[in-house]
């Protein structure tokens, strides 16, 4: 079984369901990181369950090729608790949003956290009700104007991290959809923690609350307006890493390093403190007064809920024998309600509701407008790139021959095709580096299909270049085969092709905006 787990890849976690989030939604970035991280965690797909409530984020289980339950609004944590007690061997994720978990499901969230059930809660916080078309949510700041608060919300908002800490959560962390590397690290940490892991992810709703987190994600400002928490390290931030957080009494203050202020004066982060006051103080660092922290606020150990429940059950059986549910039901007064003639039929009324006209249309591009460099980089078809023709070999080619071919033709990778010429694998220098180098293997005795990446992710010439960048930057694929509609390789995209394309795309006539 262990061998089978090790060979899982991102693709194994991608389901065949069409993804029904709005184009450009931050949920996609979270999905991509989950599918990237899980293969590394060594957990079998059939041992994994994703449980969601209601909301845009709650469509997540459909897109994961694992078990999943799309449950009742706000009650994903409850269903997950029951599942975990019934089968503690399962690896359970709760996918929820600010509406699902902090509004209707607030109560359930509090109790799963204090119980410390061993599951991972990922709260997608976009500070808006997206699915119901743009009403303010419990995390929308006061003054937020929405369709349901046209003069501005008058409600104090929740700070999800503060709520989790107050509810005695043992693992509390925050990340953001646009810092994909950080998000991957946090998802791994959450997976590894025993007990309830609570992860808030700032997520952009580009339709109803576009830009809610731009202060923390835009490249030119994020380093000065956020701070990455690192255990055991002084809390330092800023593009030039020259600012820090110092504690004056119980109040945090931003200080600039130098002029008598040194790193030793700064607050040092300790995620393992039993007293949650330190983590709570950090959770109160909010925009714009302070840099907003990302990372693990708190990570402590406490007994696990289901371990104790199950142990109690075992102890009771040992002491009193197996129970009889039927006998229990009939142990006290019961009665039967007689059949009667007075059952009412309820007429169901269906009314045609007017179609809402407040959903903004996604902007259509003017097909006649000249293409900007950015449009070319993101949306033009891959066929507009100058792609080298791929070098194709059969699966039975010996690795020795493949190495020689790559050397003589100065190639970084070969594509592996079957007798029909259909793409079956990709064999790259990276495979030699990872699987052969330093080991005593006779390269004439093994064939490329034993080392290649089978059934690699490929794109078509009509797909947008932006998707190439998606696969390259999120998954690190250096080479991406380009195939015709039947699956025959027609080109090979690479980091280098993209660099060359970018280098030629931008003129030196620049303006800041």
């Amino acid at each position: 079984m262990a061998d089978a787990i090790e060979t899982l890849t991102r693709k194994d976690f991608v389901s065949d369901q069409e993804v029904r989030w709005c184009p450009g939604c931050g949920d996609y970035a979270i999905l991509a990181q989950m599918q990237r991280v899980l293969p590394e965690m060594g957990i079998a797909r059939e041992d994994m369950v994703f449980i969601s409530g209601i909301g845009c984020s709650s469509r997540f289980p459909y897109y994961m090729n694992t078990y999943g339950l799309h449950t009742i609004h706000g009650r994903a944590a409850t269903v997950a608790t029951g599942l975990k007690v019934a089968n503690p061997d399962l690896h359970v994720w709760v996918i929820t949003g600010d509406g699902d978990s902090l509004s209707i499901g607030g109560n359930h969230l509090l109790h799963v956290l204090r119980r410390n059930v061993d599951l991972n809660i990922i709260l997608f916080n976009n500070a808006i009700y997206g699915l119901t078309k743009g009403q303010y949510s419990p995390t929308s700041p006061p003054g937020t104007r929405t369709y349901s608060s046209p003069m501005g919300s008058v409600e104090q908002d929740f700070n999800a991290i503060s709520v989790a800490l107050a509810a005695e959560a043992t693992f509390v962390a925050r990340s953001v959809d646009r810092n994909t590397k950080h998000m991957a690290e946090i998802l791994k940490r959450a997976t590894e923690h025993r007990g309830t892991s609570f992860v808030e992810i700032y997520q952009n709703c580009n339709i109803y609350n576009d830009g809610a987190w731009f202060f923390a994600t835009e490249a030119d400002v994020k380093d000065d307006q956020t701070v990455i928490l690192e255990h055991g390290q002084p809390i330092i931030f800023g593009k030039d890493r020259d600012k820090g957080i110092r504690v004056n009494g119980l109040a945090p203050e931003v200080v600039t390093l130098g002029n008598g202020v040194s790193e030793s004066d700064l607050l040092t982060h300790d995620e393992t403190l039993d007293n949650p006051a330190h983590a709570y103080l950090l959770s109160r660092l909010t925009h714009p007064e302070y840099p907003v922290p990302f990372g693990v606020f708190r990570c402590v150990e406490r007994p696990i809920y289901e371990d104790q429940i199950i142990a109690q059950g075992r102890q009771a059986v040992e002491e009193r024998g197996a129970g009889d549910l039927n006998a229990l039901y009939h142990a006290t007064d019961t009665w039967i309600v007689p059949e009667g003639p007075d059952a009412e039929t309820v007429q169901e009324v269906h009314e045609e509701l007017p179609t809402s006209n407040i959903i903004p249309d996604i902007e259509q591009e003017d097909p006649m407008a000249p293409r900007t460099a950015l449009q070319q980089l993101l949306y033009d078809p891959i066929s507009s790139l100058d792609l080298p023709a791929p070098e194709c070999v059969s699966a039975e080619t010996s690795v020795a021959d493949a190495v020689e071919t790559m050397r003589s033709k100065n190639l970084g990778c070969l594509l592996v095709v079957d007798k029909q010429g259909l793409l079956r694998g990709i064999f790259a220098q990276g495979d030699l580096f990872e699987k052969v180098a330093g080991r005593d293997i006779d390269l004439t005795k093994i064939t490329v299909d034993s080392l290649m990446t089978k059934d690699p992710t490929a794109l078509k010439t009509s797909d947008p270049i932006g998707h190439l960048l998606h696969l390259m930057s999120l998954h690190g694929f250096r080479h991406i085969p380009i195939v015709d509609p039947d699956g025959r390789p027609v080109g090979l995209a690479s980091f280098k092709v993209m660099l060359k394309f970018t280098g030629g795309l931008f003129s030196d006539d620049i303006s800041p905006n």
Partner: protein
């Protein structure tokens, strides 16, 4: 954010330069490879008394080591690429992209004015830097291009 403006104003110091390991010139080839594999870094910078004297990458392994087992006990110095091309730390990214895109090198050491090594510029780090400018258009994409639904839908 204007990518063109950033590419012309940000320098190579502004991207992640961490994708390398440091080894000494007398380290044997097999130890260097093991160190690279352990840290999953495909680039080793070869140092001599704190000075950069060579570079050794997964590309070199595939070309010069993989089917020539006699070299694995040699010092890395004998098989590395000596005197590697470097970039000054104040090189703008657009200059770096143009410099790297017509050369075979995937890894370009970045040095400061005193020739101290700050890290290694990789193709990947540049691609990641560019993509960070367009999270909505690049990160927020479905797993495959044809995964989009024809219409937005409810729960």
């Amino acid at each position: 954010m204007n990518l063109n403006y950033s590419l012309h104003n940000d320098t190579v110091k502004h991207v992640d330069l961490s994708f390398y390991v440091e080894v000494q010139k007398d380290n044997p080839v097999d130890q260097v490879i093991a160190k690279m594999q352990d840290s999953q870094r495909k680039c080793a910078l070869v140092m001599d008394q704190g000075k950069l004297i060579g570079i050794f990458t997964a590309h070199d392994i595939a070309r010069r080591v993989i089917d020539q087992s006699e070299v694995i006990n040699e010092p890395i110095e004998t098989i590395m690429t000596p005197d590697p091309l470097t970039l000054q730390s104040d090189t703008t990214l657009i200059e770096a992209i143009r410099f790297m895109s017509d050369k075979p090198h995937r890894y370009m050491p970045v040095v400061d004015a005193d020739r101290r090594v700050l890290g290694t510029l990789t193709h990947y780090a540049i691609i990641k830097y560019m993509s960070d400018h367009f999270p909505e258009e690049i990160y927020n994409l479905p797993p495959t291009p044809d995964h989009f639904a024809s219409a937005r839908a409810g729960a």
